[in-house]
Structures are given as C-alpha cells and as structure tokens.
C-alpha cells in the first residue's frame, strides 16, 4: 500500500504517495487540467528533454489499485523515484547555486510556453547525482499577461539570501537554514548589510532592501482596501528573472578558513609513501566485489574515494562532510567528471533531524538511509576523540548505516590523533585497535583488514551480522 509523504500537504492541488519504486501524485481537477495544458503546449517535452524537470506519466490500473480510494483525486501521476531526497540545508554552496539557477531557467523557459511557477520552494529541486532536477509538476500554472511573480519572496529567502550569507559574509547557510526551514529572512540580511551596500548595490536594493522596507511599512499602515495592481509586462518579468540569474551566476563562496581538509589530498601528512594508493586500491577492490547500487561516504572530503567507488562498480555515492570548502571541491569534482556523486553537508555528531510540521515534514538523515555500502575513512577518531563520542557508539552507528562497508581506524600514536590531544587531557583510555575490533565484532564480521603502516592506520572491511 502506498504511503503518504509527510512533507506533502502545503499544496492543496496534489498529494504525494510513495509506492515501491515509484512516486504517485494524486492531483485535483485544477492541477490535472494544468498538467494536460503543460503537455499539449510542448513545455513538458521541452523541459523533460533538457533534463530540467522530473518525468510524469498517468498511473495505470495496477498502480491506482495501490492507492486508497479516497486518495485517488481526479488524476494520478507517476514519477520515477529519486534515489535520495536531500534538503537545501544539506547542500553545499555550489549545489544551492545550481538549484537556484535551475529554478530560474525552468521558469524562463516555461514562460516561453505560457507557464509560470506558482511558488519557488527550494525543496522542489532535488539532485540526481550532481544534477539538479525540478520535481513539483503542479507548480506549473498558466501564465496570463500582466501576472506578478508570486514566488519572488520565497525565491529570495530560500535561494538568494542563503547564497548571499556565504558570498558576502563568509557565513555558511547550512546551520541557519536548518533552523529556519522556510529560508533566511530578508530582514536578517538587511541587518547584516552595511548602510552603503544596502542602498547602493542595485540587485540587493531591488530584491532585498526595498521589499523588506515595503513589508515593514505595510505592517504599520492602516488597513485600507488595495487598489488593483498594475499589470507587470512580460518583458519586465523576464528582465527581473534574467537579472537575478546573472547576479546569482556571479556569486562565489567566500572561503571559510582554515581550509585544511581541502588540501587534504596534496598536502596530507597522514600518509607516507604508497599508503594512500594502497588505501584507494582497498576501497576500489571492495567496490568491485560488491558493486553497491548506492554507497554512503561518511567524511567524504573532496570525494577522492567516492570517485574510486564509482569507477569500480558503485552505482551512486552520497558523501557527507562538515568541511564546506572540501565540499565545494567535491561538488566541482562531481560535475567535472560527471559523477553520480552527491556531496552533502552533514555533521556525523549532529545529523539532520526530523523536523518541520509534526516533526515529520523533513526527514532525519537516518530514516533516509538507502545505502548498500558505507565507507568511513579516517572519521572515527574525529568523533571518538574530537567529539567525545565513545568508540563503540561510533562503530555501532556506522555499521547501522549499511549491511557492509569499510572503516578506517586511526590509532592513538598517529600524528593526527596526537595533534588532537595536544591541547587537552587524554581521557580516552578505551580508544585503541583492540577496543575497535571488539566493538566492530559485536555487530559485524570482519572480512578484510589492511594495515597501511605497521601499528598505524588500518582499514577494515565488515559485513553486518543480522540482529
């Protein structure tokens, strides 16, 4: 039986259900009519052909039977299921920017066919590997000459303001956005901007400062009926969208120093001689033997080992890291090599929770897990020593993510661990290879082991034991 998506309730024109490998969308009469128009106008084929929007077909009888009677609506559409749903607060800057540009591109292209987008939610863009795709088909509504862009405020708060936070101030959007699911308010950006930039940068003035000012004035104004709005000519709407597109395409992330992990590959002191090559061979061999459809790379850094997995039989990789500059490197690696690799911001010690309406609108990370394999290279010591998470907890969590995987253990004499301990008391008596193996043995079978240096960093391949 199909399960209703807990995040699908804001739009009364349709509801999402998950059913096996497909997504069903039951729509009302208005949305069904709009979908037919979208198809007959040629917009649907054009946008799907460009890979910009997700495909939608009418459900056949077998799929319809999967939906409860009351949920069938006027029409039921079928979408392919995306392997993983991610949220804007998990995207690094590069991905949020790609999503923003896609939204504008879709909107400008749809306008050519006489369609507008009813909203501008960033959650309506998802990633298939490194490529963004727009998923909310009922957002396409017929455009009438003179119509305003109803999603402008939402677009600014869900795409532009988070990007500006990083581009102008060097503040990562992720934590702020996670706390403010509807996006970063323009008044917050205005508060951060200096008087000069607030008024003299044209794009900021027209998209942030003035709308915010008018919003505040409206709040204090007496309640008098509004006069009908002047029509906004199509050319003016296109100008607004194109200007915004040009502005966003020029935004670059301000580096968040120190960028230690970005230089991990070239200036890394943790591996000597051919250790790094042997580590990569171990990971590649693991991928060849198991060919996981989807692998998670916890602590993916700039994606070197994710790439090794993909080149050796993994179908897709989702990477997680906390280093935003390394994630930028990972995002450019993914697009340069066209890898089916999605690098996301996630702190293993504090992953995305279930949140939003009824604490279910946006799912927590663990409930979204879809991995057939997990790799966690040089990660455990950061959690066990850097964050005081007991080693057995770390091992249990990692093993719980996928039925098999590779974990790298970094013992205490390692220079990196020593550096972590330099300024603090060593309270980690239970941190050692023996304890690690014991903890791993509690949940999994160790099927492979490679010591990169005698008594040094060691790779373990495990197979989870049921129960």
């Amino acid at each position: 039986m199909a399960i209703r998506d807990p995040g699908s309730f804001r739009d009364p024109t349709g509801t999402i259900y998950a059913s096996g490998d497909t997504i069903l969308r039951s729509v009302n009469a208005e949305a069904a009519q709009n979908f037919l128009l979208l198809k007959s106008s040629g917009a649907y084929d054009d946008l799907v052909g460009r890979g910009w929007i997700i495909g939608a077909e009418e459900a056949d009888a077998a799929l319809l039977a999967d939906l409860p009677e009351f949920a069938r609506g006027v029409r039921v559409l079928v979408h392919p299921k995306l392997p993983f749903i991610s949220y804007p607060y998990e995207w690094p800057f590069a991905l949020l920017k790609r999503a923003a540009l896609l939204h504008l591109d879709v909107q400008l292209r749809a306008l050519d066919f006489g369609f507008a987008l009813s909203d501008a939610s960033a959650y309506n863009v998802q990633f298939a590997g490194h490529r963004p795709v727009f998923i909310d088909i009922p957002s396409f509504i017929p455009y009438r000459d003179g119509d305003y862009w109803t999603g402008q405020r939402q677009f600014i708060e869900q795409f532009v303001n988070p990007l500006l936070l990083r581009a102008l101030f060097g503040i990562a959007h992720n934590s702020w956005y996670r706390g403010a699911l509807d996006g970063i308010a323009s008044r917050d950006i205005v508060a951060l901007l200096g008087r000069f930039r607030r008024w003299l940068a044209p794009d900021i003035l027209t998209n942030i400062t003035l709308p915010d000012l008018m919003q505040r004035r409206a709040r204090h104004a007496p309640d008098i009926a509004a006069r009908p709005a002047r029509p906004l000519p199509r050319a003016a709407l296109q100008m607004v969208l194109r200007r915004l597109r040009r502005w966003i395409s020029r935004l670059t992330p301000k580096p968040i120093a120190p960028t230690e992990w970005q230089r991990y590959e070239t200036g890394n002191v943790s591996y000597a001689g051919d250790e790094e090559r042997r580590k990569q061979d171990f990971v590649a061999d693991f991928a060849r033997r198991h060919a996981p459809a989807c692998a998670w790379d916890i602590g993916c850094n700039s994606g070197r080992y994710a790439e090794a997995l993909l080149q050796n039989g993994a179908g897709s990789v989702i990477g997680f890291d906390t280093d935003l500059d390394a994630l930028e490197g990972a995002a450019s690696r993914a697009s340069a090599a066209r890898l089916n690799f999605l690098p996301l911001f996630s702190d293993a010690a504090n992953p995305s929770p279930a949140q939003g309406w009824a604490e279910a609108e946006r799912s927590g990370l663990t409930s979204r897990r879809n991995a057939d394999a997990v790799i966690a290279l040089a990660l455990a010591h950061h959690l066990a020593i850097g964050r005081n998470v007991p080693l057995p907890f770390v091992v249990k969590w990692l093993v719980g993510l996928a039925p098999r995987g590779v974990i790298e253990f970094v013992p205490k004499p390692d220079p990196m661990v020593q550096r972590m301990l330099r300024l603090r008391r060593d309270i980690f008596d239970d941190y050692g290879s023996a304890q690690f193996e014991q903890a791993l043995g509690r949940h999994a079978r160790i099927v492979g082991r490679l010591e990169l240096a005698a008594g040094g960093r060691t790779l373990y391949e495990f197979e989870r034991v049921a129960g």
Partner: protein
C-alpha cells in the same frame, strides 16, 4: 555599456518612488507584500516606458509627417494644391 548604466537608473527611480509611494495601497498583509510592491513599481516604470515610447512615436510621427508632406504635394492628384 547599456547594461552597466541601466541598474543605476533603475535603482534611482526605484529609490525615489519608494520614498514617494503611499503605503496604504499595500495595506493588506501577506508575506509577499514587499516583493509585490517592488514588482508593482517595476510594472509602473515599465508601463511608463511603454507610454513614453508610444508618446514619443506620436511626436516622431507628427515630425515625420510634416517632413514627408512636401514630397507628397506634387503628387496631389486633385490638383488643388492641398492634400
């Protein structure tokens, strides 16, 4: 060059209009009020530009006609010297 200049002009016009604008027109409150108000300003400017262009054409048209008229005179078939 045109692209470099236009934002400054647009910005100045918007800033002036923002200062002059009566707020009561947007007294209803919804989350997009501010964004709508700015789009309304852009609509007003665009409308103004279109009106100015049309008006300019009419002036130009008058100008053209007055210039073109002498050429038509000899072609006047009625022969009374007036078109």
């Amino acid at each position: 060059m045109k692209n470099k200049k236009s934002p400054v002009v647009l910005m100045t016009i918007l800033a002036c209009l923002a200062a002059l604008m009566p707020t009561s027109a947007y007294a209803y409150l919804d989350p997009g009020t501010g964004a709508f108000a700015v789009q309304s300003l852009i609509a007003a400017i665009a409308g103004g530009l279109i009106a100015m262009r049309a008006y300019g054409r009419r002036i130009l048209g008058l100008f053209w006609r007055s210039k073109a008229a002498p050429e038509d005179w000899p072609k006047d078939s009625s022969g009374n010297g007036h078109s």
